[in-house]
């Protein structure tokens, strides 16, 4: 395998991805990511010098519309989906001591 993924890399990606992997999952992730990157490295065979990256297949420019509220007050229905709710607000763990 050409791409060896270190423990540090997996831990770092875990932070970016907000995922907590078990030791077993980490080992599997190292293996999977290594082989995926080996596979993706195939793209380096192609000369893309001077080719503009294409993020969208059609030409799109900013799409503007008037900033007018069209939806109603769905607060109650939306909060029904919240794992925890209090006084019409989402409850989150304490972030400041």
């Amino acid at each position: 395998m050409a791409n060896i993924i270190s423990d540090e890399t997996i831990d770092y990606v875990g932070i970016l991805a907000k995922l907590e992997l078990s030791e077993e999952e980490k080992e599997q992730a190292k293996k999977d990511m290594g082989s995926m990157l080996d596979y993706i490295d195939k793209l380096s065979e192609l000369d893309t010098e001077g080719v503009e990256p294409m993020s969208h297949v059609f030409h799109v420019s900013n799409v503007f519309r008037e900033d007018v509220v069209t939806n109603g007050d769905d607060r109650e229905a939306i909060l029904k989906n919240a794992p925890e709710e209090k006084d019409g607000m989402f409850v989150v763990p304490r972030t400041f001591e």
Partner: protein, 486 residues
């Protein structure tokens, strides 16, 4: 003919002529669901009560003339990644196990305006990441042609529900083949429209630059009719395209005289099952006999489509799936210390293995130091792939090839080797990268009796060429009927 064997357009016509009531149609299909769901498991949620209630309301509107379109009164199944107000929408993930949307996706809304009865939500690969419907957190769906085999994916529940007559038609979504491949494996018609044709508003995002909603149905007439109904310009989706040419049923014409069809040699090389190859080439021969000009050509870059796709799709997925944080909706872990630990634990417990694999890869290719080498490189190759198609469509009206290298694999055979599984997407994936429309239509069965699909690919906004070619082929082929297993 039994009610459930009718196509969507046939049923709507029968309802209009008062030969069948909407309630009778809904009851017939609900009975069929009850009979077959234990075997196939096409649905995550069946809304029995809701469907019967809708039937009553829609019947009234048909009777008083408010609803008179070609799909009025016809029951439909919706892939479980499209939001439906008041109806559980899980994306087949544990992380959305209790999510009840407060709004309905635009494509579904368009169907409801046309008088569709929503039967329920179909099973899929978790967050549409997979090709077999085996990554669902709610169990596997089985192929109605042979329950030991997968229905394909990720819209496997939708394709199987159409094949098993557990609905009259269904909506699916296609990011790298997720409508066309299950349509092929289940012997039904499926179409991924040109990017931007159907609004993505309310479609739970996977790879936003690639996702499109489209129909899975029994024949080409249904396909054109459904597409005509769901296509709309929507200011709520900033990538929605304003099109004036959405009268897709006008292309239901039995005539391909002079149509130029290109067969990419690169699609018929190593890795293609010989039975699939033979069936697809035979179908091309049929179109040639009907007057099409069929020739082989080299498309090029085919082997680069999969690594390009998985880089871009994983990058977009890692960003799109950041919204699942255990705060606003969905699953939250039981025990945690502080905010970040809560995020991490909720996500790690809520997402399945394939979803985590793609989020990790996506986070990596977007991370500082690797962004240029992987993500930007993939976007550059995407531009080259698009150019290769542009050159092909300067010569041809339609590109014809297989949908997948094989017929449906057995359940349990695919997930162990991700790269091997990704290779199965080789003929469908580049179409999403280039934003093109692609249609899958049954063109035979293999020696095991499993269906084979032919793929017709068009230039952007040229769905009508695909519909015309598929309709002409379908007339020549005749009925494609599943042998009912017992």
């Amino acid at each position: 003919m039994s009610i459930v064997s009718m196509t969507a357009v046939e049923l709507a016509a029968a309802i209009k002529k008062h030969e069948v009531t909407v309630k009778e149609a809904v009851e017939a299909v609900l009975d069929n669901i009850e009979k077959k769901e234990d075997t196939y498991h096409c649905y995550v949620t069946v809304d029995r009560e809701g469907a019967l209630k809708q039937a009553e309301e829609i019947q009234k509107k048909i009777d008083d003339g408010t609803l008179n379109g070609p799909l009025a009164g016809v029951p439909v199944a919706i892939k479980d990644n499209m939001c439906t107000e008041g109806l559980l929408t899980t994306c087949s993930s544990k992380i959305l196990y209790n999510f009840v949307p407060t709004f309905t996706s635009e494509a579904v809304l368009n169907l409801q305006k046309a008088g569709a009865v929503i039967l329920g939500k179909t099973n899929m690969d978790e967050f549409a990441m997979g090709s077999t419907t085996e990554t669902s957190a709610y169990g596997v769906t089985r192929n109605p042609w042979n329950p030991e085999h997968v229905p394909g994916g990720s819209s496997g529940g939708s394709a199987a529900a159409v094949a098993a007559e557990e609905c009259f038609y269904a909506l699916g979504s296609d990011t790298g083949g997720s409508i066309r491949q299950p349509a092929s494996f289940c012997g039904v018609v499926g179409l991924k429209p040109t990017y931007g044709t159907v609004s993505r508003y309310g479609l739970i995002a996977y790879g936003s630059s690639l996702d499109q909603i489209g129909p899975l149905c029994k024949d080409v007439t249904d396909c054109a009719t459904i597409l005509e109904t769901i296509a709309s310009h929507d200011s709520k989706d900033s990538t929605s395209v304003e099109r004036q040419d959405t009268d897709f049923t006008s292309a239901l014409v039995e005539d391909v005289k002079g149509m130029k069809i290109g067969i990419p040699r690169d699609y018929f090389g190593e890795g293609l099952n010989p039975e699939v190859k033979e069936a697809v080439l035979k179908a091309a021969e049929v179109l040639k006999e009907k007057g099409a000009i069929v020739e082989e050509f080299d498309l090029s870059l085919v082997e680069y489509a999969i690594p390009t796709y998985y880089t871009i799709a994983a990058a977009e997925a890692s960003s799109n799936l950041e919204r699942f944080d255990g705060i606003k909706y969905g699953y939250r872990t039981e025990e945690y210390q502080g905010l970040h630990n809560m995020y991490k634990k909720s996500r790690s417990e809520g997402f399945g293995a394939e979803v985590k694999r793609r989020i990790m890869l996506g986070s990596f290719v977007l991370s500082s130091g690797y962004y240029d080498a992987y993500y930007l490189k993939a976007l550059r190759v995407k531009a080259l792939i698009k150019k290769a198609f542009d050159e092909a469509f300067a010569k041809y009206d339609v590109i014809l090839g297989p949908v997948a290298p094989t017929t449906a694999p057995k359940i349990g055979e695919s997930l162990s080797d991700p790269i091997q599984m990704y290779l199965g997407d080789i003929y469908t994936i580049s179409i999403n990268l280039a934003g093109l429309p692609g249609l899958s239509i049954p063109c035979g069965t293999d020696s095991k009796g499993l269906p084979i699909g032919m793929q017709l690919i068009g230039d952007c906004f040229k769905e009508k060429n695909l519909i015309r070619a598929a309709y002409t082929y379908e007339k020549a082929r005749g009925a494609f009927v599943r042998k009912e297993e017992n």
